[in-house]
Subunit: 325 residues, 2 copies
């Protein structure tokens, strides 16, 4: 199944069911008011949502209308928790080089995860406001999962069973403040502004074999101002989503609707390009002696879309302009 959330003036927005080909949609009226409400009562509402989804795909849903991404908020505009990992070791390696951090000794055994703000996510086409472009505005293309409740102490296998939906994310990052916040040991506050989401959240079965071993095995196509900068594949994630979630629930439980991110999708193969500017810059520095690609400034556009082998975009497209607050 596929879902989007249209802006209706409320904090959680209005849940819509979207056809597999993202051409048509219908509100989930009478089944669930919001995506969070649906996830909180998933076992009861999923079969009813599935009936509508089937009608949409069969072109027999009488109330279907054209799907309008321009009306979309993030699929879940606010969520109980947002836990974002850094599970692609190649990204971590490059970032350590960029910021002159010593390599972390336990990087292959303990997932790196930060707690982010979950109250104010951004929709796929909304302008994104920042206070100052001297803060080194960067993007981070990622995949994420939306969870049913996870109990404290759940294993990676049990945790993975709680994945209900998969999403595509741009985790905006301000690189000028990140290193100071990391040195503090307390993690990111100013360095991680509101996070953006592609319009459509999908159930894992929609990806077929491309949802495998708790990873999204799709290329994430990334463009800055129309120039392709990356097509890294999510398959290369060192920790699976199950392992990341198990790490997070060692001493807490996760509420329904918790979103867990993969961290920047990053591949060892340089031909895959990058899903963030800091990686591009450190590769330029290593290969050419100088970072040439600038961080983002007012008016720049970032486009991100995961692609199936047939070229279709299962989550739709993030296409946003950077503007001054």
């Amino acid at each position: 199944m596929k879902f989007a959330t249209y802006h209706d003036g409320s904090r959680d927005g209005q849940l819509w069911i979207v056809s597999r080909d993202l051409r048509s949609a219908v509100p989930a009226t009478g089944i669930a008011s919001s995506l969070l409400a649906a996830i909180e009562d998933w076992d009861s509402v999923a079969p009813r949502l599935a009936e509508v989804y089937e009608r949409l795909n069969n072109h027999t849903e009488p109330f279907a209308t054209r799907f309008e991404p321009e009306r979309c908020l993030a699929p879940m505009p606010r969520s109980p928790q947002w836990l974002d990992a850094s599970a692609f070791l190649n990204h971590g390696d490059l970032m350590d080089k960029a910021f002159n951090h010593p390599p972390k000794p336990d990087v292959k055994t303990i997932p790196l995860v930060y707690q982010g703000a979950s109250d104010d996510f951004r929709g796929p086409l909304a302008d994104v406001e920042f206070p100052d472009d001297a803060m080194m505005i960067d993007m981070e293309g990622e995949f994420g999962v939306i969870l049913a409740p996870v109990a404290m102490g759940a294993t990676a296998d049990k945790a993975l069973e709680q994945v209900r939906l998969i999403v595509q994310i741009n985790d905006w990052s301000l690189r000028a403040v990140g290193p100071q916040e990391m040195r503090s040991g307390f993690g990111f506050i100013q360095a991680k502004p509101s996070t953006s989401f592609a319009p459509v959240a999908i159930t894992p079965d929609e990806l077929g074999p491309h949802w495998a071993e708790g990873r999204v095995a799709l290329q994430l196509h990334v463009e800055i101002n129309g120039r392709r900068v990356g097509d890294a594949n999510g398959q290369e994630m060192h920790f699976s989503f199950g392992q990341i979630i198990a790490h997070c629930v060692r001493s807490r439980r996760l509420s329904a609707g918790t979103i867990v991110g993969s961290g920047t999708v990053s591949n060892v193969d340089r031909a895959a390009g990058s899903s963030c500017i800091s990686e591009i810059r450190v590769i330029e520095l290593l290969d050419q002696g100088q970072a040439r690609t600038p961080f983002l400034t007012w008016g720049d556009r970032v486009r991100m879309e995961a692609r199936m082998p047939d070229g279709s975009t299962p989550f739709g497209v993030i296409d946003q302009k950077v503007v001054q607050a």
Copy 2:
């Protein structure tokens, strides 16, 4: 005004208005279903809540019943954001000594704040579950504020105007994992399990002169298993709540209902005692050559209550037992 939230089976609980002396209470039925709903629509609902509060205090509210803390969840059982500072420099100094961290050069100019989980707060008398007492279970007695929306870039003065309620907090901490998570630079996940709250959230005017310069100038009385360990005063906070909030909104906005914590209340005067065990232990180590006070284990009880000069407890009492998950 004073508010509590009774358990009614819902995620946000049922909002009750509590009398100034914490003796009687009445549900806010027909005004606001939950404390979050009230904060999101504060200007419109506050006058109606105030009318009921006045009747409660005058003993003219016909539906008043005895206030029952044993029915209380946290005043806001889940919140859009939970941002916890470490604003008492004496606490930071002692913790740096405890964990052999070098002193932070910008400790007096940049507030230390971590993003915590806000989806699963604990009520004042609920047992608190941990997976393993080898994780060095500790408490952190704090004050906090609940906010109306705060715009990106707000100054400390503007931010302080958005404080709607004051709360009393125990920020449970697992010291065995804290240092590793600080070294990672990504902040706390396992080291900060669900946070507990005293039953009653109060408007700033309830504290009279003890809400001053964006600080709670009250002693926080702390007991472990009936033994007094601290009475530190909130007045010694280095950064005001306004300054902490201004730090947090440099690159983001805060939704209505965001909770901001002070960090462990801690005074330079050793006679004030401590609001966490790690401080007690490092003082023992410095003064006596050996830490003697153990971290918490199964069956231990922690009691915390802020006290007005007349001995009354404006937020009620946190009194919880540590149990194995």
